[in-house]
């Protein structure tokens, strides 16, 4: 079941998506023990952030919605946490992906410069958080020029550490944005972040989230993610971490058939608990055996029209 993500070997394609479980080394360790092929820490920025007040997350009929608001301890505090997480993950051969965000192109460079000290196996560049517009304005992922500028700033300080850029679904042509970030040096693409949305409680005549809007995840996101992954896979030739609404093994297979090399897992932990990793993996293996595939790598991009 192993896959290769830009020279990083994953025992299996399932990657803990950023933001789920925070950056606690012991929580990331737990997820590694639960069967993840790699884990991504929660995004950290230049400074400490408390995030948004509650409510920050609810489940609805077809998924979840959240506006946590990039709660993080700031990059300086994050480094020892990531080092500790690495120490716990290395014996299990589970790669650690750090995730970073910032408000300006230069700040992305500075956060990168700091975070390399933690020696993560990969850096994910979050340019697409949908619920911090009041603080940071439109996400960099909304425009291919600014997405490329951020990618270059990160690449400049990342050294040998490969970078993956996390893209937003709510853009007119995600393939062009993928092209721009790959030309700017991205080694991989993570797609997609959550989709901006809103849930209203009619009894309260209010949006449920304190932040009003938030990011839609879970089953509702999957068809959007599949569309975006396919568009990116047609546009560029780098590995894709396909993320968005994967709850079952069949969902994960769909992501890979759309062109993903690895598959992000997030909301599934609400629906199935941390056991989701083992369950999804065994369902994938069942599918692959039944359909006589010798390796999971054979299904990557299988559903794309040539």
């Amino acid at each position: 079941m192993s896959v290769n993500l830009e020279n990083i070997l994953l025992n299996n394609p399932l990657v803990l998506a950023s933001g789920v479980m925070g950056t606690s080394p012991t929580l990331l360790h737990r997820i590694a023990l639960a069967g993840a092929g790699a884990v991504t820490a929660k995004s950290c920025g230049p400074d400490q952030r408390n995030g948004h007040p509650n409510p920050v997350m609810v489940a609805w009929e077809h998924g979840l919605i959240n506006a946590i608001g990039l709660t993080n301890p700031g990059v300086e505090e994050e480094i020892p946490l990531l080092k500790e997480a690495r120490k716990k993950l290395t014996p299990h051969k589970i790669p650690l992906i750090a995730s970073i965000f910032a408000g300006t192109v230069d700040a992305y460079g500075l956060v990168t410069k700091a975070i390399v000290a933690a020696e993560p196996d990969m850096i994910e560049v979050n340019i697409s958080c949908p619920n911090v517009q009041d603080d940071f304005g439109l996400p960099f992922a909304a425009d291919r020029h600014s997405a490329a500028d951020v990618t270059r700033a990160v690449k400049q300080f990342a050294g040998k550490i490969p970078i993956t850029v996390k893209l937003a679904p709510n853009v007119p042509d995600i393939g062009r944005i993928a092209q721009a970030v790959v030309e700017a040096g991205a080694n991989a693409i993570t797609a997609i972040n959550t989709m901006p949305g809103m849930i209203i409680d009619v009894d309260a005549s209010q949006p449920v989230l304190f932040n009003s809007s938030g990011g839609i995840s879970g089953p509702a996101l999957k068809p959007i993610a599949l569309h975006c992954i396919a568009e990116i896979a047609r546009a560029v030739d780098v590995p894709i971490i396909g993320t968005g609404g994967v709850i079952t093994g069949r969902d994960a297979i769909e992501m890979m058939m759309a062109g993903a090399t690895a598959v992000g897992i997030g909301s599934a932990l609400w629906y199935r608990g941390p056991e989701a990793f083992k369950l999804i993996l065994s369902e994938m293996i069942k599918y692959l055996e039944k359909n006589k595939y010798r390796s999971v790598r054979e299904i990557i991009g299988k559903a794309l029209i040539k």
Partner: protein
């Protein structure tokens, strides 16, 4: 478990002391003793609360900040919003039960005591708090047919000292199958140690800073430094709030 909000109307409120109120809501809640709910008041916030009674559905409110102050201002007919029940609660294990409540930690123990008394089990309840006024729900436990012992820091009710004192004393006198507790972290840490020394099964309800309540954000991890028996990366909202430790596999 339910992850979305549902409106409930306040039926009655009852002031227990200067800072504490008992709020009953319309209807019952399909929950296990020890599970919790997130309560949302639009424009004010959202916080976790123990379920203090299942039928009727009641919560205990202690005024500790703006949110609980606002809850205490509610009166009959006012709406609140509930997400839950969430998490994993207590399980009645064995026949001889000792329940330990610190301060408002007595709230989730009450439905457990009622469930045990419905099965005609003997229940000893040890309550501890700073002073007599902060001992909560003693009469409710007594009315359910539990034996109650009390300790206060200032000696204004029951024994003077920590609740662990009367727990140790009870463990010398009687053999219990399982200890159940909810209260401040310091009390739970001490009880875990006591249970370890006595080789006693225990179920402790841990409190932690909760954000999503759905097992995703990672805010409410309870550290193994509090109780080395806790699994790595244990989440109060999803795995707990009740952590169950059995010395032998379930009978």
């Amino acid at each position: 478990m339910k992850g979305g909000f549902e409106i409930r109307r306040v039926q009655n409120t009852y002031r227990i002391n200067q800072t504490t109120s008992w709020i009953s809501l319309e209807g019952s809640i399909n929950a296990q003793p020890g599970q919790f709910v997130m309560v949302w008041l639009p424009e004010i916030g959202e916080k976790p609360f123990s379920i203090a009674s299942i039928e009727p559905f009641c919560i205990l409110i202690v005024a500790v900040g703006p949110f609980s102050n606002e809850l205490q201002r509610l009166s009959s007919g006012d709406p609140i919003w509930i997400k839950g029940p969430l998490g994993h609660g207590f399980e009645i294990d064995g026949e001889h039960m000792i329940l330990v409540g610190g301060g408002y930690g007595s709230a989730p123990l009450l439905p457990l005591a009622k469930a045990a008394r419905a099965k005609d089990l003997e229940v000893l309840v040890c309550l501890g708090a700073q002073n007599s006024a902060s001992i909560l729900l003693q009469d409710a436990f007594e009315k359910s047919g539990c034996r109650v012992m009390v300790a206060t820091d200032d000696g204004s009710r029951g024994k003077k000292g920590l609740v662990t004192l009367i727990v140790e004393q009870a463990l010398q006198e009687t053999i219990f199958d399982t200890l159940y507790a909810c209260g401040p972290v310091g009390m739970l840490k001490a009880l875990a140690k006591i249970c370890f020394q006595h080789h006693l099964d225990y179920q402790l309800s841990w409190e932690a800073h909760m954000r999503c309540g759905l097992g995703l954000c990672g805010s409410c991890e309870v550290s193994q430094s509090f109780d080395p028996s806790l699994p790595v990366g244990w989440l109060a909202c999803y795995d707990g709030p009740v952590f169950k430790h059995r010395w032998h596999p379930k009978r």
